[in-house]
C-alpha cells in the first residue's frame, strides 16, 4: 500500500489532478424514492466503454468489404480463440445499451431533470441517443448477412422518403443508388471513426455538464426540500454512490457474460444482393416501433403519401421531444406529462405489435 501511495503522489506532482478533482470529492447524489433511476446513465456509459473495448478487439480480425466481411466474422466466431465471446458481447451489449439509453432518456423526462439550467445536458443527451441508434444501424450491416442487408435496404429506403433532402441523404448513406459493398465500406467508416469521435466529444460534454450542475431532483421533492432543509437526504458520490455504481456495472458484466455464453450471436447467411428479400423482413427491435407505424399507415392519407406522412410525423415528434425543456413550462406542463406517457406507451406498444405482427 505504501508503494501505491508513493506512486500516486509522484504522479499528482506532475499532473496536478488532486486540486482538479477536489470538487468531485464534494459531489453528492440525492437520495429518495426514485434515486435508483440515477444508475441508468452510468450503466449506459459502462456499456459504451465495453463496446469500444470489444469493438477494438474485433477490429483486429474484421475485414470490411462485401467479399470478406461475412467470412471474417465467421472466422472470428469459429476460429479465433474466444472470438465468439467478444463478438457476442459486442452484439448483446449494443442491444442493452440502446435499451438503457432509452430508459435513461425516459427516466430523465419523467423526473424532469431537463429543467433549467440543464437544458443543454438534455440536448446533448438526445443527440447521443441518435448517435447510439446510428451506431446500431451501421454496426448491424457489418457482418454482411442476409437479414442485415435487407434491413439496411429497407431502412435507407425509408430515409429516402423524407421530402427534398431524403433522396440525397439516402444516396449519401448508401454510397450509391443501391445497397452494395460501397455501403458496407461507408457504414464501417461511420461505425468505427465518425460516430465514436462524435460520441466521445458529446459524452465528455454531457458528463462535464452533469458534474457542473450536479444531479437534479424531481420538482415536487425539490420544493419540499427547499421548505424543509432537514428532510434533504443525500450520499457522497465518492465512494458511496460510486461503489454502488460499480456493483451495478458488475451485475451488467455478469448479465452480458451469461447472454454471450448461453445465447451466442447468430452468424446468419451471407448476403446475396440477387436473391429476393426473405418474407417478413424486420429491422432490429429498437426501430420496430417506427417500422410498424409506417406499415399500418394507409398508403394514401388525404391524397398525401402515407409513408412520407409517417416519416414527417416522426420528424416532428422528434423535434418536439428535443425541445421538451423549452416547452415544459407553466400551463404546458400538463400536456408535456401526458405526451411523455403517451410516447412511452406508444413506443412499447408498437414494438410489441411489430414483434408479433407477420
Amino acid at each position: 500500500m505504501g508503494l501505491f501511495r508513493k506512486l500516486y503522489v509522484w504522479l499528482d506532482d506532475r499532473f496536478g489532478w488532486n486540486e482538479l478533482l477536489a470538487p468531485l470529492r464534494k459531489k453528492t447524489v440525492p437520495v429518495h424514492r426514485l434515486s435508483h433511476w440515477y444508475f441508468l446513465g452510468g450503466i449506459t456509459l459502462f456499456l459504451f466503454v465495453i463496446q469500444v473495448l470489444t469493438g477494438i478487439l474485433l477490429l483486429l480480425y474484421y475485414r470490411p468489404g462485401a467479399n470478406e466481411a461475412f467470412e471474417s466474422v465467421q472466422h472470428i466466431m469459429t476460429r479465433v480463440k474466444f472470438g465468439w465471446l467478444i463478438r457476442s458481447i459486442h452484439s448483446w451489449s449494443a442491444n442493452l445499451m440502446v435499451f438503457t439509453a432509452f430508459a435513461h432518456m425516459f427516466s430523465v423526462a419523467f423526473l424532469k431533470s431537463y429543467r433549467k439550467p440543464r437544458e443543454l445536458t438534455w440536448l446533448s443527451g438526445m443527440i447521443l441517443l441518435f448517435l447510439v441508434l446510428g451506431f446500431g444501424f451501421s454496426g448491424y450491416l457489418l457482418p454482411w448477412n442476409t437479414l442485415a442487408f435487407f434491413a439496411t435496404k429497407v431502412g435507407t429506403e425509408i430515409t429516402g422518403q423524407v421530402p427534398i433532402i431524403g433522396r440525397p441523404l439516402m444516396i449519401f448513406l448508401r454510397g450509391g443508388e443501391e445497397v452494395t459493398g460501397a455501403t458496407l465500406t461507408r457504414f464501417f467508416g461511420f461505425h468505427v471513426a465518425v460516430l465514436p469521435g462524435l460520441a466521445t466529444m458529446l459524452i465528455g460534454l454531457h458528463i462535464l455538464l452533469v458534474q457542473r450542475f450536479g444531479i437534479s431532483v424531481p420538482p415536487k421533492l425539490e420544493a419540499e426540500w427547499l421548505a424543509k432543509p432537514q428532510a434533504l437526504r443525500e450520499m457522497k458520490f465518492f465512494p458511496n454512490f460510486a461503489l454502488r455504481e460499480l456493483m451495478a456495472w458488475y451485475v451488467a458484466l455478469g448479465v452480458l457474460g451469461a447472454l454471450a455464453a448461453i445465447f451466442p450471436w447468430d452468424l446468419g447467411v451471407k448476403a446475396d444482393p440477387f436473391v429476393s428479400a426473405p418474407a417478413g423482413i424486420k429491422p432490429e427491435w429498437y426501430f420496430l416501433f417506427m417500422f410498424q407505424t409506417l406499415k399500418v399507415i394507409p398508403s394514401k392519407v388525404f391524397s398525401l403519401d402515407g409513408e412520407v406522412l409517417g416519416v414527417l410525423a416522426f420528424g416532428v415528434a422528434g423535434a418536439v421531444w428535443l425541445l421538451l425543456p423549452f416547452i415544459d413550462t407553466g400551463r404546458a406542463r400538463r400536456w408535456v406529462n401526458a405526451l411523455a406517457v403517451v410516447a412511452l406507451a406508444y413506443i412499447i406498444g408498437m414494438t410489441i405489435y411489430g414483434h408479433f405482427a407477420k
Binding site: L60, E68, H75, R79, K81, F82, Y250
Partner: protein, 160 residues
Amino acid sequence: MVPTNPGIPQSPHGPAPVRRRRFIEALLGSGFFLSAAAFFYPVLRFLIPPKESDMGSGSVIAAKTGDLKPNSGKIFRFGSRPGLLVRTTSGEYKAMSATCTHLACTVQYRDDTREVWCACHNGKYDVNGRNVSGPPPRPLEAFEVQVRGDEIFVRRRQES
C-alpha cells in the same frame, strides 16, 4: 464514547473490528483479481492469432500442382459445399460447383468419357459445367482458378 481496546468487537455504531475489515478487503481484493482474470484471460487468448489464419478473399486452396494428372478430377471443400477441380487433357484447370443441379447429388469427373457425370440419375455436364444431357436443368456454377506457385486457388467468379 467508552474508551475501547482495538480488536475487540464494539457497539453497533462503532468502527468495524479489524478482523472484519481485513476479511472484507481480502474478499474484495480476491474478487477483483478473479474477475479481472476472467476478463483478461479470454482477451489475451483472443489477441493471439489462430494458426489457420487464411480465410481471406473467399478463395480456397483446392490442390497442389502435383496432385492432379491431366484428365482427372478432385473434389474439394468450397465454403459449405463441395467443389470439383478438373484438370483437362490439355493440362488446363477448371473448377465448378460439385452439387448437381438436378437433385443435389455430388458429381464426379469421368476420365473415360471426359465429362462431368452425376451417378444418381446419369446427368452429364461438359468440363465447363454446362449441362449437356440427362435431368440437370441448369449448368454447374463455374469458379475462377488461379495457380500461384505450387498451389491452386479457387474462388467465386467476381462481379466486375
